[in-house]
């Protein structure tokens, strides 16, 4: 290998590990934010119920790495990772989960309904499958408007059993709408294994609808981000839908506090963070640097939580005033 070739190769591998490091940092931040959600929930500081995406961070971060603020996403009840990866500010996030007045949704949505339209996050959704057609509609808006923005719908394997999902695949393919159907297949729908719920494979279903399908190991950040980038680049050009199935793990229960009595002891799941950390260490990152990065995440999250604690609860009156939109041109 010539000297310049070797230098080029080294530079490109440096660039790759710099990108990987950046994505890893986002995963660490999501993990830390959710770890603290669990703590705050257990202590009663977060009301309602919360569903953590622990174990699935590589999907949000890997797919969203190729998206911009013009692109739009819809999400699910397990939407913390999606919201944070799309750019929702940590402060707004914690304030929302704690029901505070300056939360992303002024404390009216909570964990299952976090949204930030300014970064193209069209909402987590308390209805299984509820966000899928919304993303298709947003994808249609991108198509009608021209340009190269795309929409993505993140959904769990449980949503495959909902009629609207099937309707949405058909329509997206029929009308050639640039929407990415990103399935997080963690093997569970609440307390039931997917195998007891779904008779078909997503791959076959995509083929039936004439939509290109890819499957990735959802615990592998490099693989998710590489495949997502390839797919999304293609969608920006050809304005067609795609299906991406990410095989992933739900490391915790369905919701926080779930005793998981239905779940047998399986093999320890692969942790996407540990896996990526190993890769980074192999590429030369020092353990000290990586620890420091985790430390930074802890500090950021702690600061956001402190800000949320200091914030006030909204009044019923101010909520009542926004049942209807007033005269705003959206």
């Amino acid at each position: 290998m010539s000297v310049t070739k070797a230098a080029e190769k080294k530079a490109s591998s440096n660039r790759r590990s710099a990108e990987l490091l950046d994505l890893y940092e986002r995963m660490v931040l999501i993990r830390e934010a959710e770890r603290m959600c669990g703590v705050l929930f257990a202590e009663g500081e977060i009301p309602g119920f919360i569903h953590l995406s622990d174990g699935q961070e590589a999907v949000s971060v890997g797919v969203m790495a190729s998206m911009t603020a013009e692109d739009t996403i819809s999400s699910t009840h397990r939407g913390h990772g999606h919201a944070l990866a799309k750019g929702l500010a940590l402060d707004s996030f914690f304030k929302e989960l704690m029901g505070k007045v300056d939360g992303a949704c002024k404390g009216r949505g909570g964990s299952m309904h976090v949204a930030d339209l300014s970064v193209g996050m069209l909402g987590a959704n308390g209805i299984v499958g509820g966000g899928v057609a919304i993303a298709v509609g947003s994808g249609l808006a991108h198509k009608l408007r021209g340009g190269d923005a795309i929409a993505a719908s993140f959904f769990g394997d449980g949503a495959l059993a909902e009629g609207v999902f099937h309707e949405s695949l058909n329509i997206a393919s029929l009308m050639q709408i640039p929407v990415l159907f990103a399935c997080e297949n963690n093997g569970w729908s609440e307390f039931s294994p997917t195998s007891t719920q779904i008779v078909f494979s997503l791959e076959d279903l995509a083929a039936a609808h004439k939509i290109d399908y890819r499957r990735v190991d959802g615990s592998d950040l490099e693989e998710v981000s590489a495949v997502a980038s390839e797919i999304i680049d293609a969608m920006r050009r050809d304005r067609r839908p795609r299906v991406l199935e990410c095989i992933t793990v739900r490391a915790r229960g369905h919701f926080e506090g779930d005793a998981q009595r239905y779940r047998g002891a399986g093999p320890a799941p692969v942790d996407p963070l540990a896996k990526t950390r190993l890769l980074l260490e192999e590429a030369g990152a020092s353990a000290g640097d990586l620890d420091q990065l985790s430390e930074r995440a802890r500090t950021q999250v702690a600061a956001a939580i402190e800000a949320a604690r200091r914030s006030d609860e909204p009044t019923l009156q101010s909520a009542a005033e926004e049942v209807y939109a007033q005269g705003v041109k959206p």
């Binding site: 002024k106 899928v132 057609a133 919304i134 309707e167 926004e322 939109a325």
Partner: protein, 326 residues
């Protein structure tokens, strides 16, 4: 009748045509609305004129159509969806009730969902239990939705424009029997605001509150009551959510008697809400019981005689007005 007489379908068509021309973010979506012009030919010619990207033929997927309309609305468009028969909205309830109605509130006032669902309700065509229902009370019950029900050609035009301009999700209901109505559209076409009722016949003895196709029946009933020296005032609500409580109360304070009439099933209906409110805020004005007229508590039957016997009309309204005298 003049040569320029039009039907309700033409008027809605004109309103949609004008909205498409005026606002590039307006798109129409629905089953068979393109080349076929819709089941009732209301959208005929619009796809030819405005193109397939703005008048979009959809497959038979009510839930996804309504859900997509929410996504379009959140992304800067103003979709106007046609649901072929109101009964089929049952398949789109998640998108309408859990998504469209709540997002503005639930997202803390971020964005809005300016979509219109045009549909038609009611009997009269012997279409049977799954093609004749009046389901407006379902939607009036959901915070975040608006419900509009025009009774005249001018109102159909004006209220549809107002619904399209409104930043909220609106259920816009045409009564299928009104598609046969002929008349003229004022020139220039009128404007209207949502939430404002019309006193279509002033009177002094009893207030009859109604909307949609029932307005004509109430006017006929008022003519009959006049022969008995009962001078009825007829109010066309025009908008069911929000409804014009002030106009109804003001009328009641003059007539002191109230009848609420609609074709929808009487139980748990729009009439129940109006009666309850007026019994509360207008209690001191009442000289007799508030009486409701509405469909019997049964699915709309099919057979000619059976459906005719089922549908509430003039006679029931006359009877109700008399019974406000105790």
């Amino acid at each position: 009748m003049s040569a320029s007489a039009v039907r309700l379908g033409h008027v809605i068509n004109r309103a949609l045509d004008d909205a498409l021309a005026r606002d590039s973010t307006v798109v129409l979506m629905g089953e068979d609305i393109g080349k076929a012009g819709g089941s009732f030919a209301v959208t005929r010619g619009l796809q030819e004129k405005h193109g397939r990207a703005r008048v979009i033929d959809m497959p038979i997927s009510e839930n996804a159509i309504a859900g997509m309309a929410v996504g379009l609305a959140l992304s800067g468009y103003r979709p106007v969806v046609e649901i072929m028969f109101m009964d089929f909205i049952a398949l789109a309830m998640d998108a309408v009730v859990n998504q469209a109605a709540k997002l503005h509130f639930m997202f803390g006032g971020q964005g809005a969902v300016p979509l219109v669902i045009r549909t038609q309700h009611g009997g009269g065509l012997n279409a049977g239990p799954q093609h004749s229902q009046c389901l407006e009370a379902w939607f009036a019950h959901i915070p975040g939705l608006k419900v509009v029900c025009p009774a005249t050609l001018d109102d159909a035009y004006a209220l549809l424009q107002a619904s399209i301009d409104d930043p909220n999700p609106v259920i816009f209901i045409e009564h299928k029997s009104l598609y046969a109505m002929k008349g003229e559209l004022s020139a220039p076409p009128p404007e209207a605001r949502l939430g404002v009722a019309n006193i279509v016949r002033p009177g002094t003895d009893v207030t009859i509150v109604t909307y949609g196709a029932m307005v004509q029946k109430a006017l006929a009933a008022a003519d009959r009551l006049a022969q008995e020296s009962i001078d009825a005032e007829v109010i066309d609500l025009r908008t069911i959510q929000p409804w014009d409580e002030a106009t109804v109360l003001e009328s009641l304070s003059r007539t002191h008697r109230l009848v609420v009439a609609h074709e929808a099933v009487e139980a748990f209906g729009v009439g129940a809400e109006i009666a309850a409110r007026m019994a509360h805020v207008g209690f001191d004005e009442l000289d007799g019981p508030i009486v409701r007229v509405g469909g019997a508590f049964m699915p709309v039957p099919f057979g000619r005689g059976l459906e005719a016997a089922y549908l509430p009309g003039e006679a029931q309204i006359v009877e109700a007005a008399r019974s406000t005298y105790g």
